[in-house]
Amino acid sequence: MEHSQQWDYVIGLEIHAQLATQSKIFSGAATAYGAEPNTQACAVDLGLPGVLPVLNEQAVTMAVKFGMAIEAEIAPYSVFARKNYFYPDLPKGYQISQYELPVVGKGHLEIEVDGGTKRIGITRAHLEEDAGKSLHESFHGMSGIDLNRAGTPLLEIVSEPDLRSAKEAVAYMRKLHELVRYLGVCDGNMQEGSFRCDANVSVRPGGQKEFGTRVEIKNINSFKFVEKAINHEIERQIELIENGGKVVQETRLYDANKDETRSMRSKEEANDYRYFPDPDLLPVHISEEFKEQIKAQLPELPDAKKSRFKAQYGLDDENAYILTSSRDLADYFEALVRASSCESKLCANWMTGDLMAALNKADLDISTSPMQYERLAGLLIRIDDQTISGKIAKQVFELMWQSGATADAVIAGKGLKQITDTGAIEAIIDKIIAANQDQVEQYRNGKDKVFGFFVGQVMKEMQGKANPAEVNKMLKEKLQ
């Protein structure tokens, strides 16, 4: 849209990552997704009188792990606080969260934008419990409450207002998503709500130092919607100001169906949360020794892995980027290179080409791939030793994918072995030459292009099984 002046956009994201623990943050109830309503909500989660929350060590470990990965200060001493508000899916009337003293302090993340990198500050990350779920349909005018999710551990990751476009916001969100999955602290499943995002958006005239009034957009749960919701909100604010209006600080809800944001008025009144330290929980102490233990468990992080893949395997930027986009993909690649002993470029191309296309088509990912790395290695070995050509290999891959058989079984069963028997190739070449005297004449008169016709005819006759290099060599000799 055309604007009467230059505008700058200022965006900060708050991301809630559900921590991949077995049990809840303050109780021994299970966190598994998809259980029957209220079968995983115990007395602590229900906020019954007389219960006491006890902090889950794994949740703390995961938060610290994340903090180390973003090179943040890990608080040696952090405190849980009560955030007070009333909503039926929050039975206690407060959410246990962290306020003044979060476990993870200032850190940062590098994102890639327009070919360069940009450092995005992370203000803090704190531990808190999730609320339950309200269902508003089909209960004759009442709301149904499922408290299975109540008490699930969350890490709320708050960025600095360093993002300057919806595109940067998406790049940042993707990078965080990749990081938490690498660390194994969150499964990143956005459909199930394991990774959720709120965005703070404001605009200011180009060059102005002070921030404009910000609006919080809640509930944007896919990468696509983050971009759309932010862009929509930017337009709304600019239009408002250019028409003489003023942006009010408020919370808006993104409606994906209508692609618009709308005000959540009820939230304004409730925005006074009256935080205070939770008397049921003592301060959390994180010792140097505890940190050392966690440091030892840290996996190789995405950026480091990407650099290593380029240096060690000679991969180009694009392949290195794709193959390190998840730990499972990277592990598959390294296992494939080891098992096949083939050139890493061949392995990379087969993974980013045929394998990923087949996975996408079947709506699967690498962790659920029916083509295990051992079987794919078997195929690559047969390309490498010239048992089959690259073209036939695609056919073999297809058959292996459908049948679950090994490459050797498919090649033997379908008779796809490359013909290197020069006698057999020679006989066919002779036959083709005899049948196409006109073309032979043309070739001998200097029309080089006709050569391709002969190669095609021979390959067709041999159902693609001839070694192309051999065919070329012999044809040249015969046509002279």
Partner: protein, 95 residues
């Protein structure tokens, strides 16, 4: 007086406490007295002193990440006013 009657009404609303109109004045007085004391305490020099998060001078014990609770829905829902299909039913609240 530190607080106004309006502020007391707002605090009562945020805490969902119903207070009678004739009691507002005495609440305003009582709560203001508490804040008076806070102000007095605020004058004490506390530079370099870590704010006390808990009166017990101990740190939080952590529990192992194990599922120790089984499904107790039937017992819990036996005392709920209304349930349906495993859900607790409450008056409709919608954003």
């Amino acid at each position: 007086m530190i607080l106004t009657a309006e502020e007391v009404k707002k605090i009562a609303y945020l805490a969902r406490l119903g207070i009678e109109h004739q009691d507002i004045e005495s609440y305003t007085q009582d709560l203001s007295n508490v804040l008076d004391l806070m102000q007095q305490m605020g004058k004490t020099g506390t530079e370099g002193v870590l704010p006390m998060a808990h009166p017990m001078d101990q740190v939080q014990r952590l529990r192992q990440d194990l599922v120790t609770e089984s499904n107790g829905r039937q017992n819990f829902q036996a005392v709920a006013p209304l349930v349906e299909e495993g859900l607790y039913l409450v008056p409709k609240v919608i954003e």
